[in-house]
């Protein structure tokens, strides 16, 4: 008996569990401080910088990196690329958790979070881009939840309910693509209101287009990145079909990401040309802009292309991780770094350590829930009772 207790204790004390446990504990303490002392106690937000890390990272990056759900389901169900079917469930799960965590983080960032439903029940404010973002995120979170439920229903053995939901697959996919197109671009459109605050190299009348196109890149890269991580840590949960289709997904999505990145590079150049911002490229801000444009757009596009041509799966996986980092850099540039660029250094925003710790807490919660679901539900394998094609 004492041996069993010792074994179960040692299996709980893995490096992941220990680190995750510490971060969650810290996150809970900050949660308590945030909701008892207010935003001022745990953030460096000010009237100049009302949007900080929780918007720049948790929301802007979270939404972009959760785009794998609509990208994959559109590829499989709308464009008929059935050979990527095994990637749908992990992508939908990542998307659902991503959006759920965005909403969770928003509850910390908004001064009075209990008023989040107000735009839907008290005052619509339909002329506001933020209303459109809020409405789409709410609706898309519901869509992703419904798209995810077949896995949970198979796990719970609720066959009839699962079959009913499966009939909605096409409708949900179309709804997901429409809602994503709307709010991914609208997140960029939010910055159209601040031409004097956002640096000219990042500000453009085409910023909604930049955000939407880069979300496709983020979605494709996240599917490859997340797929390589699950293959590494959950290979025992993957069935033969998932293992067989894995390479197709990496090469197919890598090729698509390379081409979309090339297109994105060109529309970013159009952005500079249309506002005649060439002269800014020779400044220090221009150097940082070129790091983003050449290092995180042009370079991964070429690396993806090389990986696809040379059938180098390792190169494509590393490029996916680099591209995901590039999306984070872009969103942080727009949301934080190049925002209020004209202010003196003393007025510039740098996140409080508790803001960073809480963002880590949100990501860690996502990883814990992801691990629980992948371990218990048929995400990386087909449930033995449901061997027919499923969503």
């Amino acid at each position: 008996m004492s041996n069993l207790v010792a074994i179960s204790r040692s299996s709980l004390l893995t490096p992941f569990n220990v680190v995750a446990g510490i971060i969650v504990l810290l996150g809970l303490i900050i949660t308590f401080l945030r909701f008892t002392q207010g935003l001022g106690a745990v953030t460096n937000l000010s009237d100049y910088n009302p949007w900080g890390l929780w918007i720049g990272f948790d929301l802007l990056c979270g939404v972009a990196l959760a785009a794998g759900g609509y990208v994959t389901s559109a590829a499989v169900y709308i464009f008929g690329l059935k050979k990527y079917h095994s990637a749908v469930r992990p992508a939908i799960l990542t998307g659902f958790l991503g959006y759920a965590l965005v909403v969770l983080a928003l509850n910390y960032d908004v001064g009075r979070p209990w008023r989040l439903p107000y735009p839907f029940i008290i005052q619509q404010g339909t002329t506001s881009v933020l209303f459109e973002v809020g409405a789409c995120v709410l609706l898309y979170l519901i869509v992703l939840f419904v798209e995810f439920t077949p896995s949970a229903l198979e796990w719970l053995g609720l066959k009839k309910a699962r079959n009913l939901i499966l009939r909605l697959t096409m409708a949900l996919t179309f709804l997901g693509v429409i809602l994503s197109t709307l709010h991914q671009s609208s997140l960029g459109a939010l910055f159209l209101i601040a031409p004097s605050k956002l640096h000219p190299l990042w500000y453009s009348q085409y910023i909604p287009v930049f955000f939407f196109v880069s979300s496709i890149i983020a979605g494709l890269s996240m599917v490859i990145f997340e797929g390589s991580l699950t293959h590494r840590y959950f290979a025992d949960k993957m069935d033969a079909i998932h293992l067989k289709e894995k390479e197709d997904v990496v090469f197919g999505f890598g090729k698509a990401a390379s081409f979309v990145l090339a297109g994105y590079f060109m529309i970013k150049v159009f952005g500079i040309a249309m506002d005649n911002n060439w002269h800014w490229l020779s400044t220090s801000w221009g150097a940082w802009f070129l790091v983003e444009l050449l290092g995180f757009v042009a370079l991964p596009s070429l690396l993806y292309a090389t990986g696809v041509r040379e059938k180098n799966i390792g190169l494509i996986k590393w490029t996916a991780a680099w591209t995901v980092l590039g999306i984070v850099v872009n969103r942080l540039n727009v949301g934080l770094i190049a925002f209020n660029w004209h202010l003196p250094a003393s007025e510039r925003y740098f996140p409080h350590w508790m803001e960073i710790a809480l963002s880590l807490f949100v990501v860690t919660v996502g990883l814990i829930v992801f691990r629980f679901i992948v371990t218990h539900m048929p995400i990386l394998y087909e449930h033995p009772d449901y061997k027919t094609p499923h969503a």
Partner: protein, 46 residues
Amino acid sequence: METGFLTLQDFYTFTKGVAYLLVVVTLFGLAGYWLFLNGRDEDDRE
């Protein structure tokens, strides 16, 4: 360069002109890039 335009028309003539040139570069560039991306697949099929 940003102070080199006397009228809004001058500005648009210049920026639109650059944009049209970029359109041509993009059309041919992306078509070529697509061929480059798929080049090995075509070779394998042959």
